[in-house]
């Protein structure tokens, strides 16, 4: 349950960060969620990764659908992906997810430290 909440919270906070912060606001979002929601380190990484993977992948897919893939087909040639729109969406999602995953991992260690101090 906490795992799911963590994923959704990461996605939501990341989206909000995109309205105010540069693109790397997703790292802050994932970091904060990992500090707040208690999960094991490995699980925190996966939750941060998954949260942004779903957000970026979902946003890209949604934009692409409205655009009839006019742009993605071109970009999937500029970035050497053989014109594959699916690959482009996956790369997009993966890049964001990787940053968020490591940020969440760092956050989980901070949480542990805070908990230890309180104890």
């Amino acid at each position: 349950m906490k795992f799911i909440v963590s994923i959704l919270l990461t996605a939501l906070l990341s989206f909000v960060s995109g309205l105010y912060l540069p693109w790397w606001g997703i790292a802050l979002a994932a970091f904060l969620v990992a500090v707040v929601v208690p999960l094991r380190h490995g699980i925190s990484f996966i939750a941060g990764f998954a949260g942004v993977f779903l957000l970026w992948g979902g946003l890209a897919w949604w934009i692409d659908t409205a655009n009839n893939s006019i742009l993605s087909q071109k970009i999937a040639q500029v970035l050497p992906l053989g014109g594959s729109v699916v690959a482009l969406i996956l790369v997009t999602a993966f890049v964001g997810a990787l940053v968020a995953g490591f940020a969440a991992l760092a956050g989980s260690y901070v949480r542990k430290a805070v908990v230890e101090v309180e104890e």
Partner: protein, 811 residues
């Protein structure tokens, strides 16, 4: 706390962000670039995007409204002229910002700032041509005129209003890919854009190559290879016109035979010339020849085919103006178009207004040069070229009385011999205000307004065609052209005194022109403006004759003309050059030497219908064969030395062979045998068949496939943003002058009936965004030779179904 894993994961996170936020070589900052909230995904415009908006800017004086039709053409309704140009600037920026700035960067020699050190030489060339010097002088002239200044100020403010209010996510995709940001627009940038067009259209010259040719062949043979007259000339002003005595007298220098026309020094310099095919067609037919009884005006300027297109279609309406047509993103006003009274269009005048002078400097510091018997002090301009990721490059450019010293050893990579310096005299260096010309045309009510407007066009010289609802048609070969003595500026001139300078400009009223001629039409297609035997000034020889010839033949035959007839004519693929040249290939082919498949290709050539239609194989066979024939005839002479040379025009070869089959250059000077035209034609055909067989095997023998027309993005490596393999016929000598990367950049037909009946199309789309459905939405229509009706929207049409979105501007 586990400090080590914390620090490791934190460092990895930060390192990832840093790496993904910076550019690696040509790879953009990947994190920022793929972010769906900032990067390229934000440029993927919804296919049902509407452009409705309500915008407030303190610079505006009144409320204005812009209505977009289904092709995204903005119809701007403003209460005054400053508002209309502000909105034009805003809309150019909204749809074409990257292109506007990139073109100016190219013009100013600043591309290295954006793409790095591979364009340093390109940039230095622009600096050394004096582009900055020319743009600054033009700006001064523009700002001295209160109307032009107000127009430019409003336009600049409009562009900047868009830039200031743009979010990072809205940056055009090219900025995201190349990782830089737009600067503020200035009036100087508009001046730079206009100089970019001057360079494209009036920056061509062959002085170095012609000097080499004269030195090697001697003047007599030079004149055979590069003549300044043509047998088939059908000039813009028809033959038989009597020109008045010249108003200015120019003196040929007394030393011309010994210092200029005799053998001089050759050089290895290879100038980078604009595409010599930058040409165009235009014509206007009078009411006597049309079905409606009203004039019809047509124009199709031929330029490099690019995306985003050089043109942007607009209607600009104020209480004092209602003009529709093609605009230049980068400059205010409509350039080719029509208003409620008249229509106007241009073709390039092709005059040589770019000359080189050989300078004598005291020493290599270039501080003093010899001129009129004394040492004169050089002016220096220090140009700093910023280079992305590398230190600045500072180029020191010497300025003389003629202009900048373009070539010396520092720039020509040692192609300029030691202690040789070549200064560039270019008409575009002289102050002038061309925007005043277009502002005047946009407001013109009649022939006299047109005439007064075009007088402001100094460079690039253009053939301005005109037609009015009152029934007048006219054409002027307009520009400020130097009056030259014969061969002046064909070769590098001595720069040690004033005797070889341009002595005077041709008085404006002596520019070739004609109004309401007997034959009922006026036309131009870059041919000789006047019969060189009758016009009192030297015109040079840089004029392709064939498009003009065939346009005039068709127009002479036509009557009761409609707009549809004009569409057919503008997209006509008949190859008149082949009509004249094929008989030579047939007559002098030695069939008995042809192998079986060669005979088959020859039969296809013989039965070809002389049309450069997409599916014709004969057009390909003809083109390849003629190229091989020209090489067979000239290459032995032209490759005798390693010096840069240019091939003679195809009209020169054709006219020579039509006159005399034992033309002097037919013999191959590298063999003992004396070759005949029959030997050359047969050998050329056999060489051609090697290319043809290969094309045939690849399925590319049909003309459309062989020619393979494409419209490329302005960054040539971005092929994904280009449109390739377009099925379109035509070619160099067809009215439909669509070549591989060059061709009709805006086709327009205007019938001047009470309610204007106009059509147009260009190979692009209104949006410069590759992620928009409007990016290339006209390309297929253009390739198919079809047109869109141009809708002149009225104040009462706001409820019309053609209006798709509405943008309201207020203060």
């Amino acid at each position: 706390m586990k400090v080590v894993p914390f620090i490791v994961s934190l460092v990895i996170t930060i390192a990832l962000i840093v790496c993904l936020d910076r550019q690696w070589g040509t790879v953009p900052p990947i994190g920022r670039f793929v972010s769906p909230q900032y990067g390229f995904w934000q440029n993927a415009e919804s296919v049902d995007e509407n452009f409705n908006a309500s915008l407030i800017f303190p610079e505006l004086h009144d409320k204005s409204t812009v209505y977009f039709d289904g092709r995204l053409v903005p119809h701007v309704f403003a209460e005054n002229e400053t508002d209309v140009y502000f909105i034009q600037g805003y809309l150019h920026a909204k749809f074409r910002l990257w292109q506007m700035e990139f073109q100016v960067m190219a013009s100013a020699g600043r591309l290295s700032e954006v793409v790095g050190d591979k364009t340093i030489n390109y940039d230095r060339r622009k600096r050394r041509l004096g582009m900055g010097y020319a743009a600054e002088k033009a700006l001064q002239e523009m700002e001295n005129d209160s109307t032009t200044k107000a127009e430019c100020d409003a336009y600049t403010a409009g562009v900047n209003a868009y830039i200031s209010n743009m979010k990072e996510s809205e940056l055009p995709i090219e900025y995201k890919l190349l990782n830089y940001k737009p600067e503020k627009w200035t009036n100087l940038k508009t001046a730079f854009f206009l100089k970019y067009m001057s360079l494209e259209l009036a920056g061509g010259e062959n002085d170095f190559e012609y000097t080499n040719a004269k030195n090697i062949f001697g003047l007599k043979d030079f004149e055979l290879l590069y003549p300044s007259s043509q047998d088939s000339v059908d000039p813009i002003i028809p033959k038989g016109y009597v020109y008045p005595k010249p108003g200015v007298n120019i003196v040929t220098p007394s030393t011309v035979d010994s210092l200029y026309l005799a053998k001089t020094d050759s050089t290895d310099i290879v100038p980078a010339n604009p595409d010599p095919a930058n040409g165009s067609n235009n014509w206007a037919v009078g009411g006597k020849k049309t079905k409606s009884g009203r004039p019809i005006l047509c124009n199709d300027p031929h330029l490099g085919l690019n995306l985003p297109s050089i043109w942007f279609e607009m209607q600009l309406t104020t209480p004092s103006m209602n003009v529709y047509g093609a605009t230049f993103p980068g400059a205010p006003g409509v350039i080719i178009g029509f208003n409620d009274s008249c229509a106007f269009g241009v073709t390039n005048a092709e005059r040589d207004v770019a000359d080189f002078y050989e300078m004598k400097f005291k020493d290599e510091t270039m501080k003093e040069y010899w001129f009129n018997g004394e040492w004169k002090t050089t002016d220096f301009r220090y140009d700093t070229i910023r280079v992305k990721g590398k230190p600045d490059v500072i180029d020191t450019i010497a300025y003389t009385v003629f202009g900048p010293v373009m070539y010396d050893r520092k720039f020509s990579e040692n192609a300029a011999p030691k202690n040789k310096y070549y200064a560039f005299r270019w008409k575009a260096h002289d102050a002038s205000n061309e925007l005043k010309c277009f502002n005047g045309l946009d407001h013109a009510k009649n022939y006299y307004d047109y005439l007064n407007s075009i007088k402001n066009m100094h460079t690039p010289g253009q053939n301005f065609v005109f037609a009015s609802k009152s029934g007048d048609i006219a054409i002027w070969d307009q520009g400020e052209f130097p009056a030259k003595w014969k061969h002046q500026g064909d070769f590098i001139m001595p720069g040690t005194d004033s005797s070889y300078m341009w002595q005077a400009m041709i008085p404006q009223d002596e520019n070739p022109h004609i109004m309401n001629p007997e034959r009922g039409f006026v036309s131009s297609a870059n041919q000789f403006p006047a019969d060189p035997a009758a016009y009192p000034y030297y015109l040079g020889g840089n004029y392709p004759p064939y498009r003009g010839f065939i346009i005039n033949r068709f127009l002479n035959q036509m009557s009761s003309i409609t707009a549809e007839d004009m569409m057919k004519l503008q997209t006509e693929n008949f190859n008149v050059f082949a009509e004249m040249a094929r008989p030579i290939l047939i007559k002098y082919m030695n069939d008995s030497l042809l192998e079986e498949d060669e005979q088959r290709y020859f039969d296809t050539l013989k039965t070809w219908n002389l049309r450069n239609d997409v599916d014709e194989k004969g057009a390909t066979i003809f083109e390849v064969t003629w190229d091989c024939l020209a090489k067979a005839i000239f290459s032995d002479e032209l490759t005798k030395t390693k010096l840069p040379m240019v091939y003679p025009y195809e009209s020169t070869l054709l006219e020579a062979l039509l006159k005399d089959s034992s033309y002097k250059f037919v013999d191959n000077i590298n063999t003992d045998k004396k070759e005949t035209l029959r030997d050359d034609v047969t050998a050329a055909f056999k060489t051609a068949v090697i290319t043809l067989r290969k094309a045939d095997a690849d399925g590319r023998l049909r003309w459309g496939k062989y020619k393979d027309t494409k419209v490329s993005h302005l960054v040539p490596t971005l092929t994904a943003f280009s449109r390739q393999h377009l099925p379109i016929g035509g070619g160099t000598n067809c009215i439909n002058a669509a070549k591989q990367t060059h061709g009709p950049s805006w086709r327009m037909i205007v019938e001047l009936t009470d309610s204007t009946n106009a059509y147009g199309v260009y190979p692009g789309g209104q949006s410069g965004n590759p992620g928009s459905p409007y990016y290339d939405s006209f390309v297929d229509t253009w390739a198919a030779g079809k047109y869109f009706p141009l809708w002149v929207m009225g104040q009462g049409d706001v409820e019309d179904k053609r209006v798709k979105s509405k943008m309201v501007f207020g203060k």
